[in-house]
């Protein structure tokens, strides 16, 4: 597969390490009251869609960016690649 890195252009998927569901960005607040249930879901529950999936890829043998790649798990078609940092910020994550 080829991943179109937003900064570096087309890169072979072999340069990347795969982590899975991009929902791992949505880490709950550990100091919030009763966050156990939220952390359980965060640590153990994943979508496994047959179709479009947003997932995390790490450019380990490249610039060490974490990317959010939107990939169709049936066809391997990649429709969007974003810097995970931008995605995280868009989702309201900050410090």
């Amino acid at each position: 597969m080829i991943i179109h890195h937003p900064l570096l252009g087309p890169c072979d998927a072999q340069e990347f390490t795969y982590m899975g569901d991009a929902r791992l960005i949505d880490r709950p607040d550990g100091m919030a009251e009763g966050s156990d249930a939220a952390f359980h879901d965060y640590a153990y529950l994943r979508e496994n869609p047959a179709g479009e999936h947003r997932e995390l890829w790490f450019h380990e043998q490249g610039d060490r960016s974490w990317l959010v790649v939107t990939r169709n798990t049936l066809t391997h078609e990649i429709t969007q690649v974003e810097l995970a940092r931008d995605v995280a910020r868009k989702q309201g994550r900050s410090r």
Partner: protein, 981 residues
């Protein structure tokens, strides 16, 4: 026999080769199969199941029968198709699947047993008793089955991997591929033209019809000559594109040196190419399929196009008399070509009552071949004429044509399914082609030469147009444009065995049996009968099998469908897939800065991850490694030792939020760590399990150096980058891995400071008061060399870790050894390092094993609940905090000289050794020279409440069962006085 003239072989050169223990002669340009046929040899192998004598069925890579073992020794290659082996001087090949000899094979008895050995025989027969499987059935089946044998010797040749990029990949260099290459090449696009054959040109080399004013093969040669001059076009003969992968990536194997006795100096045997292309044009042609009839597997019976190819391209006739059996017009070409070459054609048998006539031989229209004779090779056929009479015809060769199948395999590698086309009675590419792929020529079902040329040019221009490259279509040369005339005919009805899959010995009867027993879907049919599951993947057999099934079920072929085509198109050698990644080059080897020095000292090395680390430093007179390790430990604890610890991961953490960031990465607090101080840190995974441990040294307000374990350096760095980019994207913190930038040595023992004081420049005070335990500093040593000093201890001794830029690493170890002579400084390896950390009770990889929590490790109270850190919440889960949770303990054998087996389980004395009584397990064990006793660390249920108890460490694997006493894990200096001295 060799025809007197013709053929694309170099008759001026004669080369010798050996097959089945006999020497023969051939010419450059021959394949092993063509050369053998030229020498009058038709018998080349035995079939897989019935051990039937077999000769070549084809003249290409679709060959199911003529499989040989090529070469010998470490280069021996089984199941190699004689039809594609390019002949070279001195070639040696052996037949396979035959014993004692090819012409007399003992296991041919299977052929007599064929009424029993039908489809599903093994499933039905060897069902019970189950115990018979391993000892009786399997060994027998294994001995009887299988084709060639593999060598157990290492392959002496190199295999390479390479990467190529292009605008247009053209697969197949027949008329459509050549025309496409001409179109795209002249337009200036980056083009790759790949073909599996050593002589490009495809069927043009095997046919006699003209293109413009010259022979097709001459036109091919001339076109190739022009293509060779184009710098933007790469010709790749002997290259099989075997798979279409995602996003325009294709796998290809180039047989760089297979046509030579041994690879030339510096050349690989084969190269595995990964081709990245924007567009692909598949010009893979078509393969002729046989018709099934009684005893249709005798040597001398082959596809009509193969017979034609042997005569035209190689001037090799399997016999002086031949016959042709066909259901379509193309079979007539074979008869005509044979006649033109002076081979007598006894008859042309055409299943069609309205078949066109032919000059030079008798046409038997509406006739069928119903039987054949000849034990080791064809001698005659029996034909049932249109009027119902039978006639016997003497012939040594029979060309069979059941029509042509477009080579659609690559169009299906990404879920594509071909569609049935009644007009040519074949499947053609349809839908879900790999993105960017188009198809031209016979592969698309366009069987005439004109259509192939026109299609290649038009499709290439269209592909380039997609890319914004304008291509002018070259003038099309004149070529034959005969329509495809075929009346589908799959098998001659009868009681005798009629082969569909030659390699796996699947007959029409087997398909009938599968139908009778309910295995009617094509995928079931395939698996039940093994149709198409041999090394040829059913290139010549699948179509016939599913046509017979369609007939039986009353469905059309279109409704019946095909099985899935998957990569690789033809077998790929494991060596090519491995490339250079074999033996010690399987992965990179990382050397420590002191490696060369350690080698000079005679150190033994051990692989740790990719690193080679000194394991111990033997001295003369030491009989075992234990002698060496014991000495290294004693010397370190008595005076001073030095160990290369460069391999520990080092991550530089900088930024205004560096401390706040580490505070979230580690479960224990880091926010308030003072500048100039080091702290031990434990990282958890988000599920609360311990991940890694190490130290973080604060060199400045906004600058930390984090260390990781050697094994987890990569994973920890990845994890920290994830936290930085994905969880807290606005923190002001930057990370960089500096593992290889710094050479680092542990200097440990009561004299460590005295030794260091000789190295550190006098401007820096490293006295106990000025530089206490857990201090760190950037300073200079040896007159100005920049260095970092950390007062940390893994051994439990007064100890430091001294880091210098890697380029000074070798000089520093030599300097340490020189300056340390007066203290008897002793280098120690990973084994002594391990012994000392066990003596001190430090957890390492064996304890941080992916199943243990901070609580288990005795560090439960370190997990701060005053802050949010990764893993903290889930580490507090009830299930991980039960009163009987495992706790890290020390273990001492009742008899100090009895070893505690690592991995042993801990049980109460007097209980049975069963899982229900399990109390925990031993993680690390060693002999402690400091205590003169074996010791161990382990996890024990409620271990902190069991101090002083006597248990046993039992290892059912080794049969050891050792009484032990539970102790604190800190065997040496539990108060930590030494490291603060």
């Amino acid at each position: 026999m060799r025809l007197r003239t013709g053929g694309q072989i170099d008759r001026s050169t004669q080369i010798s080769f050996r097959f089945d223990n006999r020497w023969y002669k051939g010419h450059p340009g021959d394949t092993l199969a063509s050369a053998l046929l030229a020498n009058g040899v038709r018998l080349m192998g035995r079939s897989f199941k019935y051990h039937r004598p077999r000769g070549p069925l084809t003249a290409g890579s679709d060959e199911p029968n003529a499989l040989v073992e090529l070469r010998s020794g470490g280069r021996q290659e089984p199941n190699t198709r004689a039809t594609v082996i390019e002949l070279f001087d001195g070639l040696r090949a052996q037949p396979q699947n035959a014993w004692p000899s090819l012409s007399f094979d003992a296991l041919a008895i299977n052929d007599r047993l064929s009424p029993v050995l039908t489809a599903g025989f093994y499933y039905k027969t060897f069902m019970w008793p189950a115990a018979f499987w391993e000892k009786l059935y399997e060994p027998i089946i294994r001995r009887a089955a299988g084709l060639g044998s593999i060598t157990t010797k290492p392959d002496p040749d190199a295999y390479d991997k390479g990467f190529l990029h292009c605008d247009l990949l053209i697969i197949g260099a027949g008329p459509s591929g050549l025309m496409a290459a001409l179109t795209a090449g002249r337009a200036g696009a980056r083009v790759i033209l790949a073909d599996e054959d050593f002589r490009m040109g495809g069927r043009l080399n095997a046919e006699t019809f003209a293109i413009s004013d010259r022979a097709g093969s001459d036109w091919a040669a001339q076109t190739l000559a022009e293509l060779a001059t184009l710098p933007n076009l790469r010709l790749m003969p002997r290259t099989t594109v075997f798979g279409a992968f995602d996003h325009g990536i294709y796998g290809a194997v180039e047989r760089v040196s297979d046509h030579l006795p041994t690879p030339p100096m510096g050349k690989p045997r084969q190269t595995l190419w990964r081709i990245y292309t924007k567009r692909t044009l598949l010009c893979a042609g078509a393969l002729e399929r046989p018709i099934a009839f009684a005893k249709n597997d005798r040597p001398g019976i082959m596809t009509a196009s193969a017979l034609r190819a042997y005569v035209n391209r190689w001037a090799a006739a399997p016999a002086d008399t031949a016959a042709v059996f066909t259901n379509n017009d193309d079979g007539h070409r074979t008869a005509a070509d044979l006649i033109a070459k002076g081979v007598k054609v006894a008859a042309l048998i055409d299943t069609r009552p309205d078949a066109p006539t032919i000059a030079g031989t008798e046409l038997l229209a509406g006739a069928q071949v119903i039987d054949t004779s000849g034990r080791l090779g064809l001698t005659g056929i029996t034909v049932k004429l249109a009027n119902g009479e039978t006639r016997k015809i003497k012939t040594g060769a029979l060309g069979v044509s059941g029509g042509w199948n477009p080579t659609v395999a690559l169009t299906c590698h990404q879920r594509g399914r071909p569609a049935w086309d009644d007009s040519i009675a074949a499947f053609t590419p349809a839908g879900d082609l790999p993105p960017g792929m188009t198809v031209a020529g016979a592969a698309e079902g366009q069987f005439s030469t004109h259509a192939a040329l026109a299609g290649g040019a038009a499709k290439a221009a269209q592909a380039l147009d997609d890319l914004g490259i304008t291509a002018r279509t070259p003038d099309l040369p004149q070529a034959e444009d005969a329509p495809t005339k075929i009346t589908p005919f799959w098998h001659v009805k009868g009681d005798k065995r009629a082969w569909l899959d030659f390699q796996n010995d699947v007959t029409v009867k087997d398909v009938k049996l599968a139908h009778q027993e309910g295995f009617r879907a094509v995928e079931h049919l395939k698996r039940y009968t093994t149709l198409g599951m041999a090394t040829d993947q059913g290139k010549t057999s699948n179509m016939g099998g599913l046509a017979v099934m369609a007939e039986l079920t009353g469905a059309t072929i279109a409704q019946t469908g095909t099985t899935m085509f998957r990569p690789p198109y033809t077998p790929v050698a494991m060596g090519a897939l491995a490339g250079r990644s074999t033996g010690p080059d399987f992965r990179p080897t990382r050397l420590t800065p002191s490696h060369h020095w350690a080698k000079e000292q005679g150190a033994e090395f051990v692989e740790v991850g990719m690193w080679l680390r000194a394991q111990w430093f033997p001295r003369p007179g030491e009989k075992t490694w234990r002698d060496t390790v014991d000495r290294e430990v004693r010397a370190t604890r008595a005076s001073v030792g030095v160990c290369d610890v460069t391999t520990l991961g080092k991550i530089d953490v900088q930024g205004r939020d560096a401390a706040a960031f580490l505070n979230r990465i580690y479960c224990n607090g880091f926010a308030k760590l003072a500048v100039g101080r080091v702290r031990y840190g434990l990282m958890l995974r988000e599920d609360g399990i311990a991940f890694d441990d190490g130290t973080a040294a604060r060199l400045a307000e906004d600058h930390f150096v984090v260390t990781t374990t050697t094994a987890n350096a990569v994973a920890v760095y990845r994890h920290m980058e994830f936290a930085r980019q994905c969880l807290w994207p606005d923190m002001d913190v930057q990370l960089i891995s500096t593992t290889e930038a710094w050479a680092q040595y542990a200097i440990a023992g009561p004299n460590a400071r005295k030794l260091l004081q000789k190295l550190v420049d006098p401007a820096f005070d490293i006295s106990n008061d000025a530089f206490p335990f857990m201090a760190c500093a950037e300073l200079t040593i040896c007159n100005g060399c920049p260095a970092r000093l950390f007062r940390i201890s893994f051994s439990g001794e007064l100890a430091y870790e001294l880091a210098v830029p890697t380029r000074y690493g070798d000089a520093l170890i030599r300097r340490i050894m020189a300056e340390g002579t007066e203290f008897g400084v002793t280098p120690y390896g990973t084994e002594a390092l391990g012994v000392m950390r066990i003596e001190k009770g430090h957890a390492a990889g064996n304890e941080l094993n992916g199943q243990t929590t901070a609580l288990n490790l005795g560090m439960g109270r370190m997990v701060s609940d005053k802050k949010d850190s990764i893993g903290a919440v889930l580490s507090r889960r009830e299930g991980l905090n039960t009163p009987d949770a495992l706790k890290l303990v020390g273990l001492r054998p009742k008899d100090p000289q009895t070893r505690i087996p690592a991995g042993a389980h801990l049980l109460e004395t007097g209980t049975r050794t069963i899982a229900a009584h399990d109390l925990g397990y031993v993680t690390s064990a060693c002999y402690s020279p400091t205590l003169d006793s074996y010791i161990a660390l382990g996890f024990l249920k409620a271990g902190d409440t069991r101090m002083g108890q006597t248990l046993r460490a039992a290892s059912p694997l080794t049969g050891e069962d050792v009484p032990i006493e539970v102790t604190s894990p800190h065997f040496v200096d539990p108060e930590g006085e030494r490291l603060r001295a």
